[in-house]
Symmetry: C3
């Protein structure tokens, strides 16, 4: 069960190698795409693993040519099945005109899928409707309730892309002032009323409200932590910043999921070891950091109880990403638990049981699916 | 020589598995105890290693039953001897009605023991007696002097549990205001005058005073750093925060010991490599993080001179903790120095000599015992 | 090609072991030199590797004796050739009466050498000449232009030794006030007008100006990051602090080189993976942290494209440092890329090509030499 992934793009993509490479990096810098992505262990491995799938040599041009020859529906269906995924929780908040909708994706990909609702776009859509921030935040609560009622199994926040992840209880005067400014700039802009939420006061207020509502609804709150694209300030992106939320009795029942975490994955493992409601994955790191993603997995299984560790790909856009992420994640798990067996901390059977929990059991219990 | 451990609890403990599990985690969350501690490498290894000691199957229920059948005195004596410890430095500051006193422990456990005095409880006991913070801090100095005169070989601070570990020279007005507030709240509470010291101004003022006194008395000052229970804000818990103390000439003669350090152990190794007066251990991390504790040991022996590295268990409450911590710590050391031999950085003899220093020689010289 | 090293000292050095040891540590603490440097993996390895070079037993006294018997010019020439370096980029900013000048070094050492100009001493020399900080910073620009015109191929900043590496756009009033104070203290002191630049406002203003000028001149800007001597506050020394510079469009064309990075090398690898203009090395860490330097190399090659990774020794003072740093760096690279081959992420040929880029090709392209 892949507890965190995204929507596929429409079709199998064009002939531009940079469009393809862009799916295997968090960079949006054209220099990185043209000069550096091909010179990463991930990309070389990718070419080598995709070649037999498409029946072509392990070269970028050959693979780009071969994959475009497949009918898009069949291409998506067949590759997604290769990922071996039993259930997908899909963060639908990163959608756009070039991505499928969740309904479309469900009709194409023969894997059961459930929605994870991203709170920031939901909140941004409501700014134009409410003059006072209190009313806006109440509407967010209502929106989250409705999302859960229509089937969402978790809430996701990307506060780390918009503000510091060092959560602080917001000052009400600041929230009021920044909310007014946000509405003003939205009206002045041409984006049709969908403003971009940034800065600690509003983003943190939103997180605390979402956390309260998640605790009440019994759904987990997923946090992007650690590495990501250049919108995130990694110096402010350690999961240790969530302390204000983790220690407050108001959130005693909240279950928090730390996504990615790298290079703060030891810190995340520590949080999992002491806070009952904290869970983690290494989703993005496992494949993007290649060998060091696998090393990070070996590092976290020391301190993080394996009942707190989750499997996810964080894949998006291309089925190839789902396939490579799934393979590398399973190999990293096999290696990490294999080390525990080799060092006689676990028996082979205990390791297999633990691996099954990470791959599926933990998420099924956490998300109640 | 175990240069940092705690007091044993009275008796061998009851039949509640959660009470037993609580000794192998820093968590106090009942969910962690019931659902997650058993699913850690440490706990599985523990069961497997305790089984032959108690002559029972490697199952929790069997071990809990078997250990309660031993007469408490004999149980403590025999298991503590299994730890192979030659001398224990005991932090007596974590005492309570259910723990032995140092005198009781010395009469039961046939291992020589010396006291490490914890400065925060000593200081808290003095708050009621002094109206002015200057007089209170002077009384702390006197208290530390007396503790050393009656046999304490080091001072320990848990400032990381009460304030930020990023030490700042305190502002006198703030110290005065917070001290007055502390006294007021102590009088108003029912704790009988023992207030809880928290916050940077008072805690940092206390640390600087303790550091001065330790330098004068020639005893090391131990700092809890890095991982611990949820009272500590790990985001503020890196040993790098001690810089104000490390660079000031007033503390030129002070010797500082960084305890635990994980996941900031590479930072700690760096401090050991440049500051003559800084020493470190990985005590808690080595056993609690299991394989990653051993990895942390391999990481620190690269940069930290082995004459700066100390052996400790940070064990408390149960003799089983002392036994497993001692075993895992020695195995981690053997592995780390073994790697240096395998890579031909050291000869076997050099590695054995280095290991002996870590296990005993360094601490004997540092604490002058 | 060694893209970052320093000047040699005059002669082969005296008989004092501490003078020799001081070249293999960042510490200046006499206790570290006398008691701890000899007890590091690096130092033991060093003795063992130097012994056959000098034809003596692997003991400090014997090596100190043997090396002094060589004629200083021949000693420098022969050992430097052992490092196998094809081209050296020399940071001349750490010069003194006991070091060679670049011209002298070029005449003694038969390896082509180019200058890296350090911006802080250049700026300090100009303080006495300008009353207004704007004029001073303009003179710095002129100075950098002249340095590049006379052959410098890069600019280096040691802002991490003088201020926080968390760059902030400077406040003009603060810059003005601190500049006036700096000039006053310089006039009052006996240093003959060469003041010591410290503090965020002036040091950050200088960095932003140097960065603009480097972008304009097309030369890279090297940043000391991570570990170093005790002048640096490592808590403020993560390369993640450079964000203000990395995200601003004014520096789109700037190429930044992160030096050393340890223990923030995973953070550095992340920056390389997302920002087109960021490059890194592990120079100092690779040899000073011994086995953990090699481990850091294995960690970074996961996420950092190998077209972003550079080879450097950061060696200074003694030819022995160049030799041991070169050997350990190459071994670390061989091991890291060897792991990628063993895990079938790269073919042997790909690994060899990648290694050649790290050792030379990347730097030749980056510095246009």
């Amino acid at each position: 069960m892949d507890h965190h992934c995204h929507l596929l793009q429409r079709g199998s993509g064009g002939p531009d190698p940079n469009d393809f490479r862009a799916c295997f990096t968090e960079s949006r810098d054209p220099r990185v795409l043209s000069d550096h992505v091909p010179n990463t262990p991930l990309y070389r491995l990718l070419l080598r693993r995709l070649a037999p799938i498409f029946g072509c040599p392990p070269e970028e041009a050959a693979i780009l040519r071969a994959r475009r020859m497949l009918e898009p529906g069949r291409y998506a269906r067949e590759l997604m099945e290769l990922s071996g995924t039993g259930l997908m929780l899909v963060d639908t908040g990163f959608a756009g005109g070039d991505t499928l909708t969740l309904e479309e994706q469900q009709s194409i990909v023969p894997i059961p899928q459930r929605e994870v609702v991203r709170v920031e776009p939901l909140a941004e859509d409501l700014v134009a409707l409410y003059r006072r921030p209190e009313d806006w935040l109440d509407a967010v609560r209502t929106g989250l309730n409705e999302a859960v009622r229509r089937g969402a199994v978790a809430v996701k926040t990307i506060v780390a892309y918009r503000a510091s992840l060092r959560l602080r209880w917001p000052d009400h005067d600041l929230v009021r002032a920044e909310y007014a400014a946000l509405r003003q700039s939205a009206r002045a802009s041409s984006r049709g009323g969908r403003p971009r939420l940034t800065g600690d006061p509003l983003c943190h207020a939103l997180v605390f409200v979402a956390a309260e509502e998640c605790a009440r609804l019994g759904v987990p709150l997923q946090f992007h932590c650690g590495m990501g694209d250049t919108d995130t300030d990694l110096a402010e992106g350690s999961p240790l910043g969530l302390r204000a939320l983790l220690v407050h009795e108001r959130f005693d029942r909240l279950r928090v999921v730390l996504l990615h975490c790298y290079p703060f994955h030891r810190e995340a493992a520590y949080l999992c070891s002491v806070y009952g409601g904290v869970f983690m994955d290494l989703s993005l790191a496992v494949w993007m950091a290649a060998t060091d993603g696998a090393r990070a997995m070996r590092e976290v299984v020391g301190l993080c109880p394996w009942t707190k560790l989750l499997y996810a790909t964080d894949a998006s856009r291309l089925p190839e990403v789902f396939v490579i992420a799934a393979e590398l994640h399973r190999e990293a798990l096999a290696e990490a638990f294999g080390e525990l067996v080799a060092r006689q901390l676990l028996t082979m059977q205990e390791a297999l049981d633990a691996g099954r929990l990470v791959l599926s059991g933990n998420a099924r219990q956490l998300y109640r699916v």
